[in-house]
Symmetry: C2
Subunit: 244 residues, 2 copies
DNA sequence: ATCCAGCAATGAGCCAGATCATTTTAGCTT
DNA sequence: AAGCTAAAATGATCTGGCTCATTGCTGGAT
């Protein structure tokens, strides 16, 4: 039922710069053996940021790439008249820097306190050139994101508001499943209703109303504002898949 | 003003299997020298298909990858209740097979008579493993497509019908520019109003109405049903960029 | 030239989701 | 525990784009 995310991780000797990193299993650097990993890690530095801070803005020169090792952030694009669209969320283990452009195509803002590994782009690219395995992994990741983006195109192009929110909740649930290694029913998230709306092409009012409708229909329960228990997952799945 | 698409192309000796291919300048195989190109080309075969034919369907095992060398096709996804979304169009030089999945995520249907180079996936992957330069090129392409998809997310999530169609026409115009090597004003396309609608998250009626509105506003002229002359490009650009 | 079939254009009415306004709640701080 | 603030929920109304129906084209076959 679940894709195995467990892959072979070279055990790290004590004193290794990546010791204690919980994101390695998910991140691109996870494919490196401990020696190469140490070399890689030393190309860059670690940084911590707080919820609400901006990592970079749309249009900024893209001089660095990042691996998020803790926390989460949102990627958004702004239209000249103020309309905003969230193109994605990132979580621990995600890589930020799949691009051939020298300007950032979106703004990255923290939605939780976070920790990142940060690499000068030039050094990162040079490392890639010497490590085809890593470039391959990056390609896999890009292909995966492209496929996810295409599903999101269908969601935005053809699904109703209700279907969109159901799809979104299930996406979060699947992520939680993957992390837990088993079916879960409680999902915790850091983004606001407005962020969700901007991700789903809706307004925050509509998102609120549909949360309420799902609650009324006993599909979910709100444990807290940002903590949803999925009560009837099959039904939610039916809605998301446009079969309800 | 224009990105140079001209890149160094190793000249081909007569008798080379890729002699006469007009797509090489755009395609991933364009980075190969003539010797490697010949090896590569012999991994696969050439096929011709007619407008309307289906290359593969969503869910089919993805056993082959393709380079489109002539013509154009559309990629679409179908919801269980019949709603359809076109996730993209492909033209000569485009590569079809950026994926790590073993099933096709969408249906590919020809919208013009076309010619393709077609490679068994296993052989293609093996070739990639031996040619990091080609894998790098594929990564670049994936990154580029991802960025295009993200722009499309904004279009579908936040733009009005009018802005969507303006953006679409300009996308076609930019493509025509790139091919011609200069600013052009007449664009030819093979897709129907319904295909455009399914690409932009609209109905064909709305697409028709907006074509008419653009005509009435002297932004475009219809040379034929599928041949548009862009009369006032700056104005169209303003609409597309949400400044009008 | 004329017929025909399928696409495109247009028209009338409707509705899902937006907008604008208000109330409620959760999570703080003191 | 009371008070405060920002977020969320709810309500009332409006509207852009959809739906359904009709008419108009156009390009290929006879």
């Amino acid at each position: 039922m679940f894709e195995s995310t467990a892959r072979h991780l070279d055990p790290l000797p004590s004193g290794h710069p990546c010791q204690g990193c919980e994101a390695r299993g998910q991140a691109i650097c996870g494919i490196l053996d401990c020696e190469n990993l140490a070399v890689f890690k030393r190309l860059g530095s670690t940084m911590r940021l707080c919820a609400g801070q901006t990592l970079f803005r749309e249009g900024d020169p893209a001089t660095r790439v990042f691996t998020l090792t803790r926390g989460s952030l949102k990627l958004s694009k702004l239209l000249p008249d103020g309309r905003r669209h969230v193109v994605g969320f990132m979580y621990a283990g995600d890589f930020l820097g799949i691009s051939v452009d020298d300007e950032h195509a979106f703004t990255a803002e923290l939605i939780e306190d976070a920790q990142l590994c940060c690499f000068p782009r030039s050094r990162f690219d040079a490392f890639l050139a010497d490590h085809p395995l890593m470039e391959h992994e990056l390609y896999r990741m890009a292909a995966h994101e492209l496929s996810a983006a295409q599903q999101q195109l269908v969601l935005l192009g053809r699904k109703t508001a209700t279907e969109r929110l159901a799809s979104f909740l299930l996406l979060l649930a699947e992520r939680a499943d993957r992390l837990a290694g088993e079916k879960t029913s409680v999902i915790d998230f850091a983004m606001s209703r407005a962020d969700i709306a901007d991700y789903l092409g809706l307004t925050k009012e509509t998102v609120s109303r549909i949360f309420s409708a799902f609650r009324a229909g006993r599909l979910i329960r709100l444990r807290a504002l940002n903590k949803v228990e999925i009560v009837n997952r099959p039904a939610l799945q039916q809605v998301a898949d446009c079969q309800g």
